[in-house]
Amino acid sequence: MSFATALPSDLYAIEQEILGYARDAGLDFPEVRFLMLDYNQINQVAAYDGFPSRYPHWRFGMEYERLRKSYAWGLHRIYEMVINTDPCYAYLLASNLIIDQKLVMAHVYGHADFFKNNLWFAHTNRRMLDDTANHATRIRRYIDKVGLEEVETFVDRCLSLENLIDVHGPGILRQPSRTDGPVNEDEHPGRLPSEKGYMDAYINPPEYLESLRQKQKQEQSKEKKFPINPQRDVLLFLLDYAPLTPWQQDVLSIIRDEAYYFAPQRQTKIMNEGWATYWHSRIMTRQALQPSELIDYADHHSGTVATSPGRLNPYKLGVELFRHIEDRWNRGAFGPEYEDCQDQRMRANWDRQTGLGLEKIFEVRRIYNDVGFIDEFLTPEFAEEQKLFTFRYNEHGDHYEIASRQFVEIKRQLLFQLTNFGEPLIEVTDGNYQNRGELYLVHHWETIDLRVDWAQATLENLQALWSRPVHLETTLADKGIALLSFDGKQHTSRLLQKAAG
């Protein structure tokens, strides 16, 4: 980046010192390059999600305005930013105290280790820095060619569908949307050659042939179904089958690539921040901290892990859960014997001197994402110790209120909001609905309704890409299964099935 400056010598010395501590602690990360930015530059980079350049779009401007204002009003301050690339780039805010820079460096090494080792990042593009710049160039070129308004409108539409990706897609092989190869059009499937006509009825019994024919017919009708299997990667489906011009296709593929790049970061927010916080805290308090820096460190660290009632702090939850795991595996508080023990006091004082804590948390950071992390390691003891609760929206009072402190509820709610990023699960089930080339999506309803006005607005965007009418099957708790449709001119909705009662 042209405007960033390299580290001054005093910070360079600190960098080397912290780097040593991090390597000694067993963290494993690619080269990390620190750059100094002033607050304006850091807000700019933050608005671009950590990258020095992105394609032109107003939403980055919106984010920049927001960051700039809240910085000016003293509402927040970005301490650190790091991007998942190789080498890893991290930004330091020039106006920070030396102690902050130390803390940030230790924190950044935690992130860099996580990016490199966590399985969910295995498929991310480590040369994204180049790619975002290329994306920007390509989209600028299209703007020059077809005009700002048109490209912007199209980008808006793509972004509105951005969350319709298959987060697990890069890691597993899904069923294809369409079978390749010629369809078996044999008129008499399974007929064996019979040289002598009178033997034919015996060699090829008509009933058997008929059953084979039926079977083939069935399979053919299944193949006519398109896509054969429901597709979660709606963006890919659109890329493959929507009538897009070449530039539109390219823009959509850019949006999709970037969505996939950022997805693991959203999948591991709690773990990633928890892990980085765990390491900055450990490195600072055990090695890097000078006595004179203690107060500033304590102040800033506590700011990072501060909690507020209506908001779950991923730094706090993550670091506490990692410490909780470390403690349990140090004491041997796991396994069937521990799980079966009902005596609270015995559980609390359980100590088998196993000392496996550090090993365990390294394993956890490698193979889990947030959903698994919470599912596997959130315990009733932890929930109580951390004073976790669930809250809900109270329609009568138009406010949020504490709903429950039941462990089961807390875990259910947490998992719910982490699964698929707390967004509805939507799939394409039919790309040729009613044999009229209409697109049919299904929302897998799990007790919570969609926001209907937004769903309709999103359908409009989808329709603009697909160009034929689009449908979304969803469930409305008080009405039943409904089909929201948009044909390019007007919205319709009808009930497919009335709600019971």
Binding site: A136, E152, A306, F391, H399, Y400, G422
Partner: protein
Amino acid sequence: MSNIEQDTSRYRQIVRGKIKQNLRRYMTDGQLIGRQGKDLVRIPVPQVDLPHFTFGKSGSGGVGQGPGQPGDILGQAQPDQGDGEGQAGEAPGQHLLEAEISIDELVQMLAEELELPRIQPKGKKNIQSDTTRYTDIRRVGPESLRHFKRTYREALKRQLMTGEYNPQRPVIVPVREDRRYRSYETKPVPDSNAVIVYMMDVSGSMGEREKRLVRITAFWIDAWLKSNYRNVHRRYIVHDAAAAEVDEETFFHLHQSGGTKISSALQLCQQLLQTHYSPNDWNIYLFQFSDGDNFASDNDRALEIMEEALLPAANLYCYGQVDQRHYSDSFYDVLADLRDIENLVMTRIPNDDAIYDAIKVFLGKGK
């Protein structure tokens, strides 16, 4: 301009567009009242967000951390599952967008939306002066004012048409007819003196609601006229059965009760104009607001003053009747006789929605 600034200015453009669409709503926002032209005001912008498939509000709940019993209200903090970089817990909550915009800009948008004409000041040759600006192009003129680019363009066009142009050897030779010269245009400097007299009925029947309507309407009229005249005098008259001139503050906050004699205010207004604002030197705008419930015996007198003194002097006489229910024989009906007089404008403002239209009616004439 750096990329982020381009994005930001594009974003602002979009916000401006949104504001314009929802102008009607913002106009009745009482918070804006009393701000000055250069003042930045913050107004909430609806949804510049990109829609996506998401859960409705009934599904918005989450997990929090801290003390409290089930049923406790979670402060005013907007729960936010979104995350920002940096210090959690201090990050701002939901992205509630507020746009900063100056009153002047709002007035400008208002004018564009309402298609308000530029105000035509009274023609007074003795005050009006002409200035000249070199913005015109002519075919004749001194060589020193020759417009090289235009001349070149004309020559190029001619050569292309006649086929003289050779792309291999693109030599353009202008002839006499191609030449273009800068020239001046005469522009009248509008007479910039204007006085606005607001007259408001503060009798017992004018409640808080009615005053609010008057206040908002007056604010936008004021803002509009100020943006058209450099130098606007404002005078405020309140009346019940008797009239008095007051300052702005009092005008909007005075509580009074009593009968209603509209003629009292008109008479005071007439005196004011006579002593300070000669119609020959001033553009005079008169705005009268009432609920229309005048003493029947007073109507003739009021009409007489209007016809003889006020209407001939004023550029515009606007009467706004802020009545929820229409009284029969209201002042509005009384004025109906004068409807043909060109510089009299009347409208009724029964509720907030009508303010927008009232302003259009009042200022739409461009007098």
